[in-house]
Each structure stands twice: as structure tokens, then as C-alpha cells.
Symmetry: none
Subunit: 211 residues, 2 copies
Amino acid sequence: MPKQIVICDDHLLFLNGISELLKNTGNNYGIAKFSDVHSCRQHLMQNEADVFICDLNINHFDGFLLLEELKFQLKNTKTIILTAYYEDFLIQKARKLGVNAFLKKETPAEELISVIESGLNKEFYTNKSYKKGVSVYSTIDEPIINKFRISRQEKEIIKLIIKGLTSKEIADVLFISITTVTTHRKNIHRKLEISNSSSLIKFAHENNLLH
Amino acid sequence: MPKQIVICDDHLLFLNGISELLKNTGNNYGIAKFSDVHSCRQHLMQNEADVFICDLNINHFDGFLLLEELKFQLKNTKTIILTAYYEDFLIQKARKLGVNAFLKKETPAEELISVIESGLNKEFYTNKSYKKGVSVYSTIDEPIINKFRISRQEKEIIKLIIKGLTSKEIADVLFISITTVTTHRKNIHRKLEISNSSSLIKFAHENNLLH
DNA sequence: GATAAAATACCTCTTAATGGGTATTGTTTG
DNA sequence: CAAACAATACCCATTAAGAGGTATTTTATC
């Protein structure tokens, strides 16, 4: 199930840029983007979002106001403030408002994605260089792929399965025998404790091991 | 020959976002991105760029200074200032400095690309409606499912396939015969012009039809 | 150089999926 | 009320995938 992400930022290039960025993570996010508060509010009142990312200063409209207004609609939504203004009092205000994360726009994409992907809990996250006694999302999970000891070639085959290739086609593009592909698929299934390719693809998507 | 574009902005998300945006235009741009002035300067002194996009305020370093410093290296380069600060005096300053365009970050991607693609001349461009300030923009990626005439039950079955269920299991949870499930799968394949469940899942993810 | 891990490949058997049909019963809609 | 669509269900045959093995070669790694 892809996460539904709503982004509100009046910087169109930023809005489109971040949207492309998230689309290309392979996480298959459903993305709704808004550059004005009004249509964004309307959307959030009618649709449940998993993640809501917003700027603080959207066409001179206070992002905090929007968050307060939509407090009820956003109770099951991870809220992330993404802004150029990272003053301590703003961070504290966000925290009190129940915002889940406060990120500056200098944040590396990896960090943003890890915040998006971490479970919705009631902890508060902000960029590490600005933590002052605030709790930080505890773990940036090390690649699950290592945990399951999926090898390079196995990973390669997973990618091709996800692309929709059959074992025969995979054998052809990797210049190996179809029986070898079969063996790899078998080993992958054993390691991940699954028994069909749909579950494999599900696993791959959930654990973000697709590039 | 693909255009070589150099981008300098300390907002990493913006930097990466805009980079993805430009990569996905199909214009085959060569893109070098920098979040600090020093490595950017070094790059520009050694490599010729077709387009140089920079912020004015890169880690508190004045973008104008960088442009002045590199005036000689940039004589054949289209220079674009892309910034959140669009004060009149900044625009005039940029103009005097020989900058080719001054864009605010609210600029639509199309406008940026058209500036990049327009020939290098000595004219000066800035956003036409920059006094008005209100650029409204919102899109929600509309379900492609209607286009392919996937029915409610077919969609239900797609969702269960994605969950990793077999036809037998799907039949059980939907209280229908396994042959019915088979028929539905067949019809789905025909409509989407695919021939295995991996491709189906890929399609579903790409077109965001899983919720 | 020994050992472990990875990659290769085959055999056999079973189960699942796919693609070609046909056909009945509702449901919706112009 | 027809016509179109959706949902149901079965037949047939073929192909693909999955699960149990075994086994050789190549590649790291200690």
C-alpha cells in the first residue's frame, strides 16, 4: 500500500522537485501537491493522508495556522514541517502543536525519506544538528537486505522480477540458465520466508530494496 | 550535445529536487550540483557550463560575490539566479551584473526550462507576474484506472494479488470460485496488456491504484 | 591455502498461473 | 426495455512457478 503524501509549498520548483524526488524513490508514493493553502485544506478535509509536508510560510499564510485548523483531519497523519526558518522557538512551537517532524530545507533527501518511512508515533524529530534535548527517531534502520543476507545476484533477480520479467527472460538478460534463476528464486523465498513473487514484490517495496 | 547545467543551492532537498526535475524533462541535461560555494567555484573554474543556476544566499555566502568572482569563466554561460528573495534592488543588481535571469523559487518548472532552453543572449529575464506574487497550482494524480475500465471487483482482486494472495486464497476471502478469480485475472491482463502478476503489480504501483 | 559464501546448473514432482473458449445471471443506463 | 457491462463459473490445454534435492565452480575472506 503506497503512502499518500500531501505537500504544500508555494515554491513551485521546490514542490515539483520534491515530488519528483519522492516519486523516484521507488516507494510508489501517492503524491498530492499544492501551492496554496486553500486547495490544500480542501483536499485534506476530504482525503486521508499518511504524510503531510508543509512549509511554514505559504504565500504569507502561517503554516501553523493550517496545521491547527486541520488538527482533527491530521490525527492519523504524520506531519512534517519543511522550512528554511529553523529558529528554536519555531521548533518548540511545532512540537507543542503535535507536529511529528521539523526539517530544514537543507535536509538530505535520505533523511526526509527515513522520516517519512518511520512509523507514525508521537515522537518528535528534528534535524540532528538542531537537537537540543529533543528526542530523535531512534533508529535509521540498516538496510534490511543485509539482515536477510540477500546476495548481489539475488537482488538483481528481485529487481527483474519486479520489472515483470519471467524466469526465462531474466535468464536471458543475465546470461545464465533458467535453472539458475529458479535456484535463486528458491533461495530468495527461503530467506524471506515467502512463497510467491507477489509476496516478494510486496516485501521489496515495503523494505525499499529496489535500487 | 547535452547542455551542461551547474546548480548551486544549500537547500539539499531543493538541489536534488530540481536536479530530478531537469533530468526528467527528456532534454538529457548533464547536471552538476553543489551545496557549497567552494566546490562549485572549483568546478566552474575547470569546466565550462552552459547554464549556471544559483541561489543568492548559499550558507550565508553572497551569491552575487560568486557570480562576480567567476565572471570570466561564466562569459559563455547562461546564469540564472533562483531565489526566494525577489526584491527590486536585487533584481536590478543582478541585471547590472550581467545575470541572464532572475527567478523566484515559486517559478513553475516550465518557465525555468524555457529560460534554460532559450538561446544565450544578453537579454535579461525575470518572472512576469512577480509583483502579483500569487501563483496557484495544484494537481492530484488522477486514477488511470478509469482509462483501462478496471471494474470494482477487478480492482479488489488486484489489491489482493498485491498483498501476495494466490487465486485460491483470493477466492476464499471474496467467497467466489477460483475459476471466477481466474477469469478476472485474465480480463485484467487483457485490459492492461500484460501477462503476469509481476507486471500487474508494477502497473498498479506505477499508476497508484492501490487504495 | 583453507573455508565460507556466492553463483552456477541440473533432476523430479507439484502447484499456480495463464490464455483460449463459452455461458448464465444480475445491474446499470441511455 | 434493450444494450452494455459486470460478476459469476466452467471447460480445455499450456506455460510458469515453486519446493525438494544434489553438485560444481568461482569468489571472497580469514
